[in-house]
């Protein structure tokens, strides 16, 4: 392919890349900018991509804008960590606070398909009680959503992505069988399994959004292990190869390399469309409704950058909470060296996990965590040893020689939503002239208690399987949520149960920003389920004339 997806948009001239056929194209509807579409969605990831698909399939006219490139995984993705940094959001941002968060490759994607292009495919359902954390478990906030509704949307997403998971899942209420079978465990996963058996807790194969059998034109996984740097096999069921092709087939238009700069609002206080930058200049697309789905940093950033006289604190910010309650998840790990060869670079990074501590409430802190096996590639591992363990020089080189023997356990846990953790606008501007985001984060005591508990437990699990040189990686976080939280009360939330902004009825938010709490599991499945639910809500509202 001679065209560079990072320089030239591919979604134009009435066609879109066919990600399943090298060099192929599919026809794509094209709207004129002067045409007012029903829904203009900013961001095409787990939230925006899913919503674009469902709304288009429901008959609405839909345009999805994405700041990122439209990749063709089969041709564009190389087996090279450095090259593949092209998947991440590497525009300027400031990270500060008592416990500054790592951004970029850690949790921020920039591509059609969003962060699902680089995510680790872990597809877990929330524990039902988490939707009522305040009422049932005494912390956080209740979601304005019933878990039973979410259960059916989880099923829809699992079926759509052909999640490869265990035949029966050890925790939570009964769920239907995953559509595809679980993948073979690699040595790192077997180590987790043995550790759990020694500790007397259950474990399972991780439900993963990567194929264990063929589906359509996508190939089953070949266990190459480059998952978080981009799947060139098309086995990974990112939005790029699932929701987006469906959206285009249903008549949606996706505009890549289109950076949204500002949402325009009219005198009546309703949004009218979005200013976006593409191919060197600014454009304006008219829309009846705008959905913001840029994930937990870009969504509040866009809302704040769209401030007007009428809305001097940014759009949808009557509560003052846009950007607040930015919440990440702890991603601490315990590592060790095995006498056996592990070669964890083979297969997906997290083939086995345990959710024991999400369902066991015998703890003296709120929230839970799961932990999973790991398989870091060389650069990531070297950086972990250097920054996480403080090794450099001969000590680093010696430790790296044990690469094929390293084994580890890593948590995805629950941090408490705190209002003080927030995304605001910095004084600097980026390459588009837009004020950049500043992220502030500080842990609370509950966060520290959860982390300590997890490190102690995982250390014991590692000791039980005869590893030497066991050490803890104490500072790592992942994912991000919360900056436009859902709720029942416009004073304490930004969007309602329909993901509709309280202040502006034709402005919606549909991504991880809407999570009032984050739970102790990876968010991607829940974000996609919320998007499916939002689409159904929109359809219901539309049929009642309430849009």
């Amino acid at each position: 392919m001679s065209d560079d997806p990072l320089a030239t948009p591919r979604g134009k001239d009435g066609r879109a890349p066919d990600v399943f056929r090298s060099g192929g194209w599919v026809p794509m509807r094209q709207f004129a900018e002067t045409e007012t579409v029903d829904f203009l969605i900013v961001g095409t990831g787990a939230g925006g991509g899913t919503l674009a698909c469902r709304l288009a399939e429901a008959g609405f006219s839909v345009i999805g804008l994405d700041a990122g490139p439209w990749f063709r995984p089969l041709e564009d993705f190389a087996s090279d960590e450095s090259e593949q940094t092209k998947l991440y959001w590497t525009d300027d941002r400031i990270s500060s606070g008592g416990n500054p968060v790592q951004l970029g490759s850690n949790n921020s994607g920039k591509a059609v398909g969003g962060s699902t292009v680089h995510f680790a495919m872990v597809s877990l359902r929330f524990r039902p009680e988490w939707f009522r954390s305040r009422t049932l478990l005494g912390y956080g906030t209740d979601w304005p959503v019933d878990w039973r509704e979410m259960w059916s949307y989880y099923q829809e997403v699992e079926q759509a992505l052909k999640i490869s998971g265990p035949v029966s899942y050890p925790w939570g209420p009964k769920r239907p069988r995953y559509p595809y079978r679980a993948h073979e465990l690699n040595a790192a996963a077997l180590a987790l399994a043995e550790g759990c058996e020694a500790m007397g807790i259950a474990w399972t194969e991780t439900p993963l959004a990567t194929l264990s059998a063929p589906h359509g034109l996508a190939h089953p996984c070949v266990y190459r292990g480059f998952c978080v740097t981009g799947c060139s096999t098309n086995a990974k069921q990112s939005a790029l190869v699932t929701w987006i092709p469906r959206a285009v087939a249903a008549g949606a238009e996706i505009r890549d390399l289109a950076m949204a700069g500002r949402i325009e609002v009219n005198d009546a206080g309703r949004v009218t469309g979005v200013q976006y930058h593409r191919e060197g200049h600014w454009h304006f697309q008219k829309a009846r409704n705008v959905v913001v789905a840029g994930y937990a940093i870009e969504t509040p950033r866009l809302l704040l950058n769209s401030a007007t006289d009428r809305y001097p604190d940014g759009l949808a910010n009557g509560s003052g909470l846009v950007g607040h309650y930015f919440t990440v998840q702890p991603n601490q790990a315990v590592w060790g060296t095995s006498a056996r060869e592990i070669r964890s670079y083979k297969g997906a990074p997290s083939l086995a996990l345990t959710e024991h501590w999400n369902y066991d409430d015998n703890k003296d802190f709120f929230g839970g965590y799961c932990y999973m096996s790991q398989g870091p590639l060389p650069q990531l591992w070297a950086n972990t040893l250097a920054n996480g363990r403080g090794l450099w020089g001969d000590r680093l080189m010696a430790a790296m020689q044990d690469y094929n023997h390293q084994v580890g356990l890593k948590i995805v846990g629950e941090m408490l939503p705190q209002e003080r953790n927030r995304v605001t606008l910095a004084d600097e501007t980026d390459q588009y002239g837009l004020p950049i985001a500043r992220v502030e984060y500080t842990w609370c005591d509950n966060d520290r208690a959860l982390i300590d508990h997890s490190l102690k437990f995982m250390t014991q699990a590692m000791q039980a399987i005869d590893c030497r040189d066991i050490w803890s990686q104490t500072d790592d976080t992942c994912h991000m949520n919360g900056t436009a939280r859902m709720g029942d009360d416009p004073r304490t939330s930004v969007v309602d149960t329909n993901c509709r902004c309280w202040d502006i009825p034709n402005l919606w938010i549909c991504d991880g920003s809407v999570f009032p709490t984050v739970g102790g599991v990876n968010p991607s499945l829940t974000i996609q389920a919320i998007a499916c639910r939002t689409a159904d809500r929109i359809r219901a509202l539309s049929s009642r004339g309430e849009l």
Binding site: E75, A78, D80, W89, S96, G225, N387
Partner: protein, 213 residues
């Protein structure tokens, strides 16, 4: 240090199904990268090279990985992480400032430029920087420990392990597309993976690794 994977070279698999065209293109470009600095000045580059030798020391029996050049190249292409601490300038600026400050620090401590010190003293200086114990005015508002972790260590380490020689050294399978891996259990390897030497079997393992592909 006896080699753990003698004779193993990921580049030998370039024309097997483990490498695809785009990977070959990317790695070839990296291997053909010019060695002279284009972002850093010659003086800055000298300091940088000395730093990389301490952070990722290399064996002398093989051609060295041009770590400093890789960093120079990355900065010249504006390939940044996408975030920084509030106290840090942007990546390229941070490096220039840091290198200047490091040399100033070395002058303060040892009355000499960093690259002229002996390795043990260089390590000492780096440890000061790492600990936040660097007080020359050249640091400005940039905390030395933040520079050390976010820029120096991160960029050096990632540059080193972006090179095929480093991949071969640690016995990593390397590029893997379209062909991935079949045998995933404990102590299992595919015929296209590196064989590990266990002790005095260096020659036998070297022979075997020559056929890996």
């Amino acid at each position: 240090m006896a080699e753990r994977y003698p004779g193993y070279d990921v580049l030998a698999k370039r024309h097997t199904p483990s490498w695809n065209a785009q990977t070959r293109r990317v790695v070839d470009e990296r291997l053909a990268m010019p060695r002279e600095p284009r972002f850093f000045s010659p003086a800055e580059f000298r300091t940088l090279e000395a730093i990389t030798t301490r952070i990722t020391p290399q064996p002398s029996h093989r051609p060295p990985i041009p770590v400093a050049s890789l960093i120079d190249d990355k900065l010249m292409r504006h390939r940044h992480d996408g975030y920084r601490a509030a106290s840090m300038p942007k990546d390229g600026e941070a490096w220039k400032l840091g290198l200047r400050a490091l040399d100033a620090e070395t002058q303060r401590l040892c009355r000499c430029l960093f690259h002229l010190l002996d390795p043990a003293r260089q390590d000492e200086v780096l440890r000061h920087v790492e600990a936040g114990d660097a007080h020359s005015v050249e640091w400005g508002g940039m905390p030395s420990q933040t520079f050390f972790r976010q820029r120096l260590l991160t960029d050096v380490v990632r540059a080193y392990w972006s090179h095929p020689t480093a991949w071969s050294e640690i016995g990593w399978g390397g590029p893997a597309s379209p062909r991935g891996y079949v045998r995933m259990g404990y102590d299992r390897r595919d015929p296209w993976e590196a064989l590990e030497a266990r002790g005095d079997d260096q020659d036998a393992v070297r022979q075997e690794n020559r056929h890996v592909g």
